[in-house]
């Protein structure tokens, strides 16, 4: 306990000295989120400094080992860091598929060379990654993917098409599921490849979402040469890695309020709708809001409990599916409630006012939460099979 107190005091002092004031403001728009990468465009010096300082300390990835650019913190220390960041409302310095998805898989399945090459660059935000899983014919049934990687002796030749690849047009590297053996059973012919998006033969074409933004792409591979050493794990063993990575992706997507910094629906409703004596002026919405908040609170406590249990070496199986399913359904509920709270103002799409249309876009974006990273239905299937052992699931 004493050591942890010391760590808390030091952390607090360091954050006070090093977190720029601008980075203690709530995230107001997409541009405020820093994704790093070769072509990073910082909103300002504060954002750049914050990433540089946190990255140098390994605190973008507090629990990764130091030799791979991490902070080397214990779970308890990481919890302290998170709570101290929350205390001063510090923004997360870096949003990254490398941190949330690839990193944990690299730590478990990567060879030493791969870890040393990629992990520190992820930690410092130097390389931005994208995820090449889904294909036009392989969505929920991911293992039916057809992008091929042909063994050419010293390299693989990759051909095929991915779709819904988030930020493929902005990413530097891709982690990609490919079929290396077309004769093997569906799950057994898949391999896990890492390659540079600047490689000849890679092209992307953005797709527009219902929110109007184009954060994802079609991604084409036309005779892309990938060095053999970029294969992660053994050939044909890619499916295990793919699934392991998905559990991390699901936990991340489920944990929508990871920083604990969002205003609650009731806080927003109080500002927007006002109060009538001691209760919210709109009593019908008040009931909807409190029921949502009961669930949101119960979910937040469950995230906390899961982390406590993981720390104590316990843990419930297939939890990532539960967190993904429930967390994303909750977030959709939240966004819908926020639209209701805003009433006709929430319908605004474009206009002269600052932030006009943000709410509606946020609502529309949230509808994808229960699709990306495995749909709600697929996650319920997984719970039925893995946790409940129901037949034929």
């Amino acid at each position: 306990m004493d050591l942890l107190d010391t760590f808390r005091a030091e952390t607090r002092a360091w954050l006070e000295a090093n977190c720029p004031a601008e980075m203690r403001q709530p995230i107001a728009r997409d541009a405020d989120v820093c994704w790093g990468g070769r072509n990073v465009k910082f909103t300002g010096e504060a954002q750049r400094l914050w990433l540089e300082r946190m990255g140098a300390r390994g605190w973008t990835v507090p629990e990764w080992p130091r030799e791979y650019g991490g902070g080397g913190l214990s779970k308890d220390e990481a919890k302290v860091l998170a709570s101290e960041m929350r205390r001063i409302k510090a923004r997360s310095p870096l949003a990254s598929f490398g941190i949330w998805m690839l990193g944990p898989a690299l730590l478990k399945y990567g060879n030493e060379e791969q870890k040393r090459e990629h992990l520190p660059r992820i930690a410092r935000g130097e390389i931005r990654w994208c995820q090449g899983y889904s294909e036009p014919g392989a969505g929920s049934d991911l293992a039916s993917l057809r992008t091929s990687a042909e063994d050419m002796g010293d390299h693989y030749l990759v051909n095929g098409q991915k779709v819904w690849t988030s930020y493929a047009d902005k990413a530097d590297w891709i982690f990609c599921l490919v079929r290396t053996d077309s004769t093997a059973a569906k799950h057994l012919g898949i391999s896990f490849l890492l390659f540079d998006m600047a490689s000849p033969g890679v092209s992307t074409s953005p797709i527009k979402l219902i929110s109007g933004a184009s954060p994802f792409c079609q991604t084409f591979f036309d005779n892309v040469k990938v060095p053999k050493q970029n294969l992660m794990g053994a050939p044909g063993k890619g499916w295990d890695i793919a699934k392991y990575l998905l559990t991390h992706e699901r936990e991340m997507i489920g944990d929508m309020d990871a920083g604990g910094q969002r205003d609650s629906v009731s806080q927003i409703a109080r500002r927007t709708l006002g109060m009538d004596a001691a209760v919210l002026a709109d009593t019908g919405l008040r009931t909807d809001i409190v029921r949502h908040e009961i669930n949101a609170w119960a979910f937040a406590l469950t995230m906390e409990r899961v982390k406590d249990e993981a720390k104590a070496g316990q843990g419930v199986g297939a939890l990532s599916s539960m967190l993904k399913y429930y967390g994303t359904e909750l977030n959709k509920d939240r966004q819908q409630l926020l639209m209701s709270v805003a009433g006709s103002d929430g319908l605004a799409w474009e206009g002269p006012a600052e932030g006009e249309g943000d709410l509606a876009r946020g609502w529309l974006r949230s509808r994808a939460n229960s699709i990306e990273g495995g749909t709600s239905e697929i996650n319920l299937n997984i719970i039925a099979k893995r946790v409940l052992s129901l037949p034929g699931a």
Binding site: I289, A298, F299, T302, E304, V316, Y326, E377
Partner: protein, 379 residues
């Protein structure tokens, strides 16, 4: 404070699980109902619960109790929920003890707490008057008389009121009907002149009495806490009761869910196990998540009580609301997924639905606690 169990708490959970499974299983509940047992629970079982330290789970060691705390009390209640065990655990060990520990004088504590721990004296909380839980709604009056007060009024829903030795009565010494101020708590001997107790068997085969007070004379020394300031104590008593009822409902939910999942793996229709139908799989998987969420709220509420967290009331309301909703869903789904057999009296699953309904209603449902939570959070 971590939301995980300590080794001691895990031991208590194991011993409680084993105890109720063997000593007070669902079959005992059925027998008590079928024989219309006058007590409504088995006194020998209660005596054993005292030996196990369950009756004195909240009684401080200085008063002869086990002093295990609220998490332990909740784990015992959860086991009770799983087995539908009938016992005066809530009325006496939780509500009675909390009332005495929170509001009792040194003398009252020394007199009653050891008896609770030994399982020798039963308590009942006579607070609610309206059919919908409204703790501040107290019309029963206490008017000065002699060196004490005279009680007049009626309490409609006194859990275990038909067997209690001592009643904890909320009565009004000042203020109007729904005011929080002016409520006073009294410790009243159930055999006092002027008390009429009418036993009501409930849908869940538990007992609650309608008790009327007709010029019942109580001594000034029987006031619990200060005159006119009973509401604060009552809220603490109710919050402990709510958190423990949440735990019992979690037990009800998890057991009926487990039985349902078993049934999905056995029953065949259309030449296959019904558990292979995705319509049922998804509902079961959703329910799994809900039960996990309920468990988190329950643990948080109990931990808050043990650590005297200043948000104890919020967490108690959260747990009561969430665990109540989940118990409703879990038991409704249980009956539905059992089909016709789920509707039969011979089959146990219906008992769980009945108990869930009663426990959910007791001390406030989600409508009550949603409103309370919203107010506590400033909206």
């Amino acid at each position: 404070m971590a939301l995980t169990l300590t080794d001691d708490q895990k031991m208590i959970r194991e011993s409680a699980d084993g105890f109720f499974r063997t000593e007070a299983p669902v079959s005992q509940h059925r027998k008590l109902r079928d024989t219309a047992d006058a007590t409504g629970f088995d006194r020998a079982t209660w005596a054993k619960m005292a030996e196990m330290g369950f009756a004195g789970v909240l009684v401080p060691e200085a008063h002869g109790g086990a002093g295990f705390g609220h998490v332990a009390a909740g784990l015992i209640m959860e086991a009770i929920g799983r087995n539908l065990s009938a016992a005066p655990m809530l009325s006496t060990a939780i509500l009675g003890t909390t009332a005495l520990v929170t509001g009792g004088s040194a003398e009252q504590q020394a007199r009653y707490l050891p008896l609770i721990a030994e399982g020798k004296r039963l308590f009942a909380l006579a607070a609610d008057e309206a059919a919908r839980h409204a703790p501040a709604h107290v019309a029963t009056t206490a008017t000065p008389s002699g060196n004490g007060f005279k009680l007049n009024g009626t309490k409609g829903f006194v859990l275990d009121g038909h067997v209690a030795d001592t009643l904890i009565v909320a009565a009004r010494t000042s203020g109007d009907h729904d005011s929080r101020d002016g409520i006073t708590l009294f410790l009243v001997d159930a055999t006092s002149a002027g008390i009429a107790i009418e036993r009501r068997a409930m849908v869940d085969s538990r007992n609650a009495a309608r008790i009327s007070f007709d010029d019942v004379q109580v001594d000034g020394a029987d006031v619990l806490g200060a005159v006119g300031e009973g509401f604060g104590i009552l809220e603490k008593v109710l919050d402990a009761g709510r958190a423990c009822l949440a735990a019992e409902m979690l037990g009800v939910s998890s057991e009926s869910f487990a039985r349902t999942v078993d049934y999905l793996k056995q029953r065949e229709q259309f030449g296959q196990k019904i558990g292979s139908f995705q319509a049922l799989q998804h509902r079961a998987a959703h329910l799994f998540c809900e039960v996990e969420l309920a468990r988190s709220t329950m643990l948080r509420a109990l931990v808050a009580l043990d650590s005297c967290d200043d948000r104890s009331s919020q967490f108690a309301s959260l747990a009561k609301a969430k665990c109540g909703e989940v118990a409703k869903l879990a038991t409704n789904e249980a009956v539905q997924m059992h089909g016709g057999i789920g509707m039969t009296d011979d089959f146990d699953i219906g008992f769980f639905m009945k108990r869930a309904r009663a426990a959910q209603e007791t001390f406030g449902d989600i409508a009550f606690h949603g409103d309370r939570l919203a107010r506590m959070m400033g909206y």
